[in-house]
């Protein structure tokens, strides 16, 4: 028994001095997603967060555990016999993280380990840095066991050499040139750098991997009713559609405010396709995501 999508929610940070960071965005979309599915937080068996950038660049604990506490998903104490709790952790696989999380949830669903899983992804610039290249967007996706033949059929993750374009992000220490009295000696700064050829490279890699993946299932690009794709880098969705010769009506488009969304991009695209009716009409749905490395994550969903 595989996994089907039950509900999806997306949100972007409101402007102004009290704009939400990644955690608040994740909390908001997780709650909205559960509300859309008319499900209680306590029903979640496994919560996986695939977001990368967050307030204060916190690396411990897993952000998933804080989301779990905030939305009240079996926060514990005391653990009770005869009832189930919630397990949560983070995965990171660049822009492919949501599909990585879904692959894990699909596996646990098939082994009878879980019945309800929630994937959350959100990114925000730590401290609202203006140089942060992605819009602050959060997405959540609730999955349940497949039924009526609807669900994920296959996942694949391929890696390619970076060749002429790189994408790198890291935190490192920048010492102050002049030390002022009482001032900090420097600070840890997040730098996100996208090389010029990166977009071109990930489109080429995604095309190659997608054609191979579809062929493995006896399909070609013409059999894809709907493509749900990464929203970063910005030109990826259009570029891949052109290379695969997918008509615009067969590619999910996000609202302007969500364009360039990083880890939550595929969820935002799925949400838009559900809203527009594209998802309901589609039978063969391709998920195509890309991340730094280059990593291409693909999934096939059928109804």
């Amino acid at each position: 028994m595989g996994t089907r999508i039950e509900a999806v929610a997306t949100a972007h940070a409101r402007h102004g001095p009290f704009r939400q960071g990644a955690l608040k965005l994740a909390d908001e979309v997780a709650r909205a997603c559960l509300a859309r599915a008319h499900r209680a937080p306590g029903e979640i068996d496994l919560l996986v967060n695939a977001g990368i950038y967050r307030e204060d660049n916190l690396v411990e604990p897993a952000l998933a555990s804080m989301i779990q506490e905030d939305i009240g998903a079996n926060p514990g104490h005391p653990p009770r016999a005869g009832a189930h709790g919630t397990f949560s952790f983070d995965v990171a696989n660049g822009g492919c993280g949501v599909l990585t999380a879904l692959e894990l949830l699909d596996g646990f669903m098939r082994s009878g380990t879980i019945e309800t899983g929630l994937v959350v992804a959100s990114d925000s610039g730590p401290g609202g840095r203006k140089s942060f290249p992605f819009p602050a967007v959060g997405g959540a996706l609730l999955v349940r066991p497949a039924s009526d033949g609807e669900g994920f059929v296959d996942f694949v993750c391929e890696t390619f050499d970076e060749a002429d374009g790189v994408f790198e992000s890291a935190i490192s220490w920048h010492a102050r040139a002049r030390r002022l009295p009482l001032a900090r000696p420097g600070k840890n700064v997040l730098r996100v750098a996208q090389g010029e050829g990166y977009e071109r490279r990930v489109i080429a890699c995604a095309e190659e991997a997608t054609r191979r993946f579809l062929a493995r299932h006896g399909l070609d690009a013409g059999s894809v009713d709907l493509a749900i794709v990464s929203q970063s880098p910005l030109g990826f969705a259009d570029g891949l559609a052109t290379r695969l010769d997918l008509a615009p009506a067969r590619v999910a488009r996000v609202a302007a405010a969500l364009r360039g969304a990083h880890t939550a991009g595929p969820i935002a695209a799925l949400d838009a396709a559900i809203e527009s009716g594209q998802f309901a009409a589609a039978r063969t749905i391709l998920f195509a995501t890309v991340g730094a490395g280059v990593v291409v994550g693909l999934a096939l969903y059928r109804k």
Binding site: V59, A62, A92, S172
Partner: protein, 371 residues
């Protein structure tokens, strides 16, 4: 097999919802790898370097005499790669046999104290060791990262999707010792626990267990998220690297309150008593915490495991790698014998509680002087 209601566990248990088709395989640890930096830093030296000269007998308090720390040129990435290579050197698998590679460290330093988010560290490790066929990703779950990754790999192997996978973690966390040494003023400091940390890299290959080998007999995890904010770590404000703020006593208290029923559930599921466990390996924080915890378990269960492992004296708390540092060193010392029941108990920020139980097999033949 229990009925569906009786099988309801608070922990998420592999296959535990009990409505599954039969999962065809078991998984087992095929080999382990370890990399410790050469350089040693004693607790005495660390406290002597403290800015505010706190009057704390940390060695008496924790039992930690020294820890290994990285030198220039070493970081999370190099520790992980060296551990992965050591793991492969003890394995009959080649790098290209690895179908899934999970990097589970909290620290992701590559190129010195440069915490890399993208590309994921797992991808760099996979490339460096030549595991071209592996699907790779990072999994972060504080000090429970390695065992959470074992939980994931176990699922893929049991379902028959893969035959062989690797979990790896390189923890370069001694920057937290240095940053804490600048700020700790007393025993009540929230950075006191940061003074107990040491660097280490570990790796484990899991594979489909041969017929008749029970391998991993239990894998379960839960997050008691009510306590998610008891230990927070991130980039430091005072210098390169990271800092961590911990309510250590509260964590120990809630872990001791909440973990016994979960442990009891795990033991019941496998038909074992705590007395049947030959080696209990808990997350290594301090000797005092480990032995106090063991006494509380003994009081609660009325019996004790045959051995409770504590190796912090010369290693310190090496974050997500502690269970595997201990396993490796006990293997090298010839302490285990085939048939021993080993229970790994994870207690980590989150609050993560995880249990992995496995039966030791010919893994012992690949380590120690006899090897």
């Amino acid at each position: 097999m229990k009925d569906a209601h009786a099988a309801e566990h608070w922990m998420l248990v592999e296959g535990g919802r009990d409505h599954r088709p039969d999962v065809p395989y078991a998984s087992r640890f095929e080999s382990l790898g370890l990399q410790l930096p050469e350089r040693r830093l004693t607790t005495r030296e660390l406290l002597a370097s403290a800015t505010h000269h706190p009057r704390i007998d940390l060695e008496a308090l924790t039992g930690i005499r020294e820890r290994r720390v990285c030198s220039p040129g070493e970081d999370s990435f190099t520790l992980a790669v060296a551990a992965a290579r050591d793991c492969l050197a003890h394995s009959r698998h080649r790098p290209e046999d690895i179908e899934m590679l999970i990097s589970a460290s909290i620290s992701k330093y590559k190129g010195g104290l440069r915490h890399q988010f993208e590309p994921p560290l797992s991808l760099a490790i996979k490339r460096e060791i030549g595991a071209q066929a592996a699907t790779s990703f990072d999994l972060s779950n504080a000090c429970a990262g390695m065992l959470s990754s074992v939980f994931v790999l176990n699922d893929f192997i049991r379902r028959g999707v893969i035959r062989c996978g690797m979990v790896v973690s390189g923890e370069y966390i001694s920057s937290l010792d240095r940053n804490a040494a600048r700020q700790v003023r007393s025993i009540w400091s929230k950075q006191l626990a940061s003074l107990t940390l040491g660097d280490a890299g570990v790796a484990a290959i899991l594979e489909r267990a041969p017929d008749g080998n029970p391998g991993i007999t239990f894998a379960g995890f839960t997050t008691l998220a009510e306590h998610s904010r008891l230990c927070l770590g991130g980039p430091a404000k005072v210098g390169p690297g990271a800092a961590m703020f911990t309510k250590a006593r509260t964590i120990h208290r809630v872990a001791m309150e909440d973990s016994p029923p979960l442990l009891a559930d795990a033991l019941e599921e496998t038909g074992l008593s705590l007395a049947d466990i030959d080696y209990l390996i808990v997350h290594q924080t301090s000797e005092r915490a480990i032995h106090k915890g063991a006494r509380e378990f003994a009081a609660r269960f009325g019996v004790s495991p045959k051995h409770v492992v504590a190796n912090v004296a010369e290693r310190g708390n090496t974050a997500s790698t502690t269970h595997f540092v201990a396993l490796y060193e006990y293997l090298e010392a010839g302490r285990f014998k085939p048939g021993d029941e080993i229970l790994l108990l994870s207690l980590a920020s989150g609050l993560e509680v995880g249990v992995v139980i496995f039966r030791m097999d010919e893994l012992v033949d690949h380590y120690g002087h006899a090897h």
